[in-house]
Subunit: 268 residues, 2 copies
DNA sequence: GTCAGTTTCTCAATTATTGGGATTACCGCC
DNA sequence: GGCGGTAATCCCAATAATTGAGAAACTGAC
């Protein structure tokens, strides 16, 4: 990684300081936290403010600004996963008393990007944009199971403590065995790992039948998922839908890159 | 504006190229559009990619990435306007057959940031994050009317053509007179300017009783808004709610800046 | 295997960025 | 309306970081 654009990264690093736990920062605090000099920090903040990524509050605080909302809207409009998956989520929520999600795998995080919920389903505390815990739940394992080995191992090592707690395995090899089984099945299930009394069923969304980019997940109240026949039907439904989405996504990506204004002008 | 952080701005400028009309870019096209040299552009793109703001598609395309979704989630969580206004939107949608919005005023744009919709109301094509047209509709005028004069004038000049079309006024002075009337009333109304057959009623949300930062807006089908008694009641309801929100917002902003980790450590 | 296209690297020149200190702007308060 | 204190910006020389040309490595496609 020899090519860097230092100041760009330092500017973006400012945005990383804003979290659910601390959504507001004073410039003083950012200076200490990030170690930038005062004029530099103010220059960076001004850049972010002028672009709308931050807003400054009268009494010396900063908060995320409307530009991120605008960008997310654009993102949601152009995201093929949403275009492809949304109606399937809605179909799931219409057929079963459940909450259905599509979540993205992104920088060792799991991020809900679309969801649909039936009236009778379990309440979900994961709206679009909220990162989910990486160590718990069906989604997590559905994705980990399909990662290439060399990505798997360091992640498993990091999470081993968590995995031991929920009984997945107490050594890296045990966890890998567990994941291998999930890979054979094509989907993962979990009971009460994220929310007590709620079961999750998740299958990965794969690009080129290899790399997981996301997962399709459905959660139900445990009491609605007891019948093993019904449960098996749901599992195969999730698996089928996830494969459909994967296939559609691949089609989408195989198409020609978009015509751009420039291409058009230059007559390509 | 002597203080700049050039490369930071150039990096953020890349994100500005992604629009609803063109949500995908090739590096070639960006190079031409922005005039950066190839290695520089790739450095910038790598920075944005590594941070999750962009994702690269296999065949030479870029699209916005999940980080913007994550940021918008944070933003929505920490936004006092949403915290203060959301339940009021829902109350409106429960009481009237309508769509109710809170929109932000941001860099000469109007951005929906929260909404609620009743089953019987008019369908809305403005979800969170979508910029609304600046020249049309009640929201636009509710905000313009409360801007300080020196901000008003250049905007009106830019939009004069549009204003003339919808009969608001054909000269700057005429438009200003119109806006002054809105300012006296406290709210603006519009019929069919954005969507045929839909009326809008909007009142500004003010900070310190001066600067408009947002507006509360309600849209109804024209047929539901014909009775002038009912209409007057709704208008005063919108006005009242917008004033409540303004007041709550001021309270919110008067409070002490947040304790930060740094402050706590240093014992402030 | 070869090929076309995309992405990253190397490295020296130079430019744009940085930061200390001073200055100005701003806000709340009296 | 003036005043005090803090926050934000400006100035400018030093320097460290960014830049861009060209080349090389990588990627998939055939």
């Amino acid at each position: 990684m020899t090519s860097v654009s230092g100041s760009g990264e330092r500017i973006l690093a400012i945005l990383d300081r804003f979290t659910e736990a601390q959504p507001e920062w004073t410039s003083e605090a950012l200076m200490v936290e990030l170690g930038y000099s005062r004029p530099t920090l103010y220059r960076y903040l001004k850049t972010l403010k002028d672009a709308g990524y931050l807003v400054s509050l009268p009494n010396a605080g900063f908060r995320l600004g409307p530009r991120v909302t605008e960008l997310d809207f654009l993102m949601s409009r152009s995201d093929p996963l949403i275009r492809i998956g949304q109606h399937r989520l809605e179909a799931l929520a219409a057929e079963y008393p459940c909450a259905a999600f599509i979540v993205r795998w992104y920088r060792r995080k799991i991020l809900c990007i679309a969801s649909s919920q039936s009236d009778m389903g379990p309440p979900s505390s994961y709206p679009r944009g909220r990162p989910m815990p990486l160590a718990r739940g069906a989604i997590s394992r559905a994705i980990l199971a399909f990662l290439p080995r060399r990505e798997q191992v360091p992640i498993i090592e990091d999470l081993l403590g968590e995995f031991a707690k929920i009984g997945i395995g107490s050594s890296v090899d045990e966890v890998i065995d567990e994941l291998r089984a999930i890979r054979r099945n094509g989907y993962a299930t979990a009971s009460g790992e994220v929310t007590p009394g709620v079961v999750g069923i998740a299958a990965p969304i794969l690009v080129a039948e290899r790399a997981p980019v996301a997962a399709l997940c459905m959660t139900m109240k445990a009491c609605d998922a007891e019948d093993s026949g019904a449960r098996a039907r749901i599992e195969s439904e999730i698996l089928r839908l996830s494969q459909e989405i994967s296939a559609d996504l691949c089609c989408e990506m195989m198409r020609q890159p978009p015509q751009t204004a420039v291409d058009v002008i230059s007559g390509k």
